[in-house]
């Protein structure tokens, strides 16, 4: 099984600890969203997995082996780290040919990935004429070149236009569906929610969460119900009598906290309030994420006076 295994990984740059005793696995067959604010250590962790930076301690392996010890590594793992990495004076096709040649990947694959990423018609243009979105596609093409079972993509939707965002979402879903291991970092919450099955959340280099997306949201965001009626006052009174907390909005609809639609519908009917609108408001990843990072910030703020940061 080709998973990414990170064991007690730590990386210090001078006195700052970018990655702090990180342990998690990224499993095949699903898209793992890699979340965290800027500077949380996502990119550093990816570089450590690829053997580009040396860990201070701990290990990171791809399919059980250190990336740097892999023979023809592009066939084992593909990565997009930085869309600016391609040299501007080379054509996109030459850029990919160079990478393919070093790992003995047939040149046919170069044309295939150019086709797959929608760059076939621009393949002979110099990379410096490319927009950010096109460079991003080229970076993804490079990651796909060796048809690898493991993919690490750092902010792949960056700079993509709306069609591009839909394309990457479908691509990620398909890659996971083919049984590949897909780790995608992002700080766009709604975007991540649209493709991830599982989440790994970092904060200040430490692991904050490693859970399925749905569980992550449900554990952190209480369900709410949105309801609108022509008899607002009557419904509010009935809700208050049953101990529900409500918020009234300017356009007249109510938000009922910690409630399910079934209960509120029945309650409205008993109160003789004609229901015009009744929907369950799903918690969003953004809410759940902010809830997590706020509690984390409080935790560290309370902790810091007594326990000054080591390192």
């Amino acid at each position: 099984m080709t998973s990414i295994d990170i064991q007690n990984l730590t990386k210090e740059y001078g006195t700052t600890r970018a990655v702090d005793h990180l342990t998690f696995r990224v499993l095949p067959g699903r898209v793992t969203g890699f979340l965290g604010p800027n500077g949380a250590g996502k990119s550093t962790a990816m570089r450590l997995v690829l053997g580009l930076d040396r860990p201070t301690s701990g290990t990171a392996t791809v399919g059980g082996r250190a990336y740097a010890s892999l023979d023809e590594p592009l066939r084992h793992a593909g990565a997009l780290l930085d869309a600016q990495a391609a040299h501007g004076s080379r054509t996109a096709r030459d850029h990919l040919r160079v990478l393919a040649m070093s790992n003995r990947i047939p040149e046919r694959r170069v044309d295939e990935v150019l086709e797959e990423t929608g760059l076939a018609s621009a393949a002979k243009r110099r990379v410096k004429t490319y927009s950010l979105g096109m460079r991003q596609r080229l970076g993804i093409a490079a990651a796909l070149l060796g048809d690898p079972p493991v993919l690490l993509l750092d902010e792949p939707s960056n700079g993509l236009d709306p069609e591009g965002i839909i394309w990457i979402r479908e691509l990620l879903r398909r890659l996971a569906g083919e049984g590949r291991t897909v780790l995608v970092s992002s700080h766009l919450m709604n975007e991540t929610a649209s493709f991830a099955d599982h989440l790994v959340v970092l904060g200040r280099g430490r692991l904050l969460a490693d859970t399925p997306l749905r569980e992550f949201i449900h554990a952190r965001v209480q369900p709410r119900v949105r309801v609108r009626t022509s008899k607002g006052a009557a419904l509010k009174e009935a809700l208050a009598r049953h101990g529900y907390e409500t918020v009234e909005h300017a356009d007249g609809h109510l938000t009922v906290q910690h409630a399910r639609v079934d209960d509120i519908g029945r309650l409205a009917s008993n109160a003789d309030a004609p229901v015009l609108e009744l929907t369950a408001e799903e918690g969003t990843l953004e809410q759940a994420y902010l809830d997590l990072t706020t509690s984390e910030a409080e935790f560290t703020a309370q902790r810091s006076p007594t326990q000054p940061q080591e390192a």
């Binding site: 570089r47 053997g51 580009l52 892999l70 023809e72 590594p73 004076s89 070093s102 790992n103």
Partner: protein
């Protein structure tokens, strides 16, 4: 990972950058043009050295060779380019060796062609003044020219790998070769004979009063280059990409 595909990939990198092909062409064109020009100058100077006159173009031509070596390595340091290269070839020592070979071999071939062309162009102008040159001296000059230009390109390549910047390398080497070596060279005497460019260029002289001979001079330049390449290798292997 086998070495041959890595080497082929590095060679393709050089061929697909116009600036690098341009630098190699400039080595040839500049050297040959200046040597041809030198061949038409007066040969009545008492210190006239017909062999060095024929290879006078190597002085300006080496700037292009240095630019070639520096740019070939610095092209890896554009916006995370090195990470992409090392993700494809994580064995850094192997990657670096392939890079150096892909710079050295074309530099040597261009250097040998440049040497032959410079000699031919200068002799056309020098006429009788160059008749005293033996075949051995001329062959030594052509081969020496090829090796010298290669060593300078590799010196710059190693320094660029160490400094991680082509601009830094060029701003060290070009003033050094154009000004310092040129101006203080005759004044200071002795030790300056061991500077990389002055030592190596002895191979292009028919006679010289330096402490070093033509081949030992080239050997000194080779030591400088080896030191720069080793420093570059250390940097590539040890530092985070």
């Amino acid at each position: 990972m086998p070495f041959a595909p890595v080497l082929r990939s590095e060679w393709l990198k050089i061929r697909t950058l116009r600036s690098l092909c341009g630098a190699l062409l400039a080595v040839f064109a500049v050297s040959t043009a200046f040597s041809a020009l030198a061949g038409t100058s007066s040969s009545s100077d008492p210190e006239f050295d017909p062999l060095f006159t024929a290879f006078l173009g190597v002085g300006p031509g080496q700037i292009a060779a240095i630019a070639f070596g520096a740019t070939a390595v610095s092209s890896e340091f554009h916006g995370g380019g090195l990470r992409l290269s090392l993700a494809a070839v994580p064995q850094r020592g192997r990657w670096y060796a392939a890079k150096i070979a892909a710079i050295g071999v074309p530099a040597l071939l261009v250097g040998l062609v440049t040497g032959s062309a410079s000699l031919a162009a200068a002799r056309a102008g020098l006429g009788d003044a160059a008749d005293g040159l033996t075949v051995g001296e001329q062959a030594r000059g052509v081969v020496g020219c090829g090796i010298y230009l290669t060593l300078m390109a590799l010196f710059a390549a190693g320094l660029t790998a160490l400094l991680r910047s082509g601009v830094a390398t060029l701003s060290v080497l070009i003033p050094f070769i154009l000004i310092i070596s040129f101006v203080i060279g005759d004044v200071a005497g002795g030790l300056t004979d061991f500077l990389p460019d002055r030592a190596g260029q002895l191979i292009l002289h028919e006679t010289s009063d330096s402490a070093l001979g033509p081949w030992s001079g080239l050997g000194v330049t080779a030591l400088w280059t080896a030191a720069a390449l080793l420093a570059g290798a250390w940097s590539v292997r040890r530092r985070d990409a």
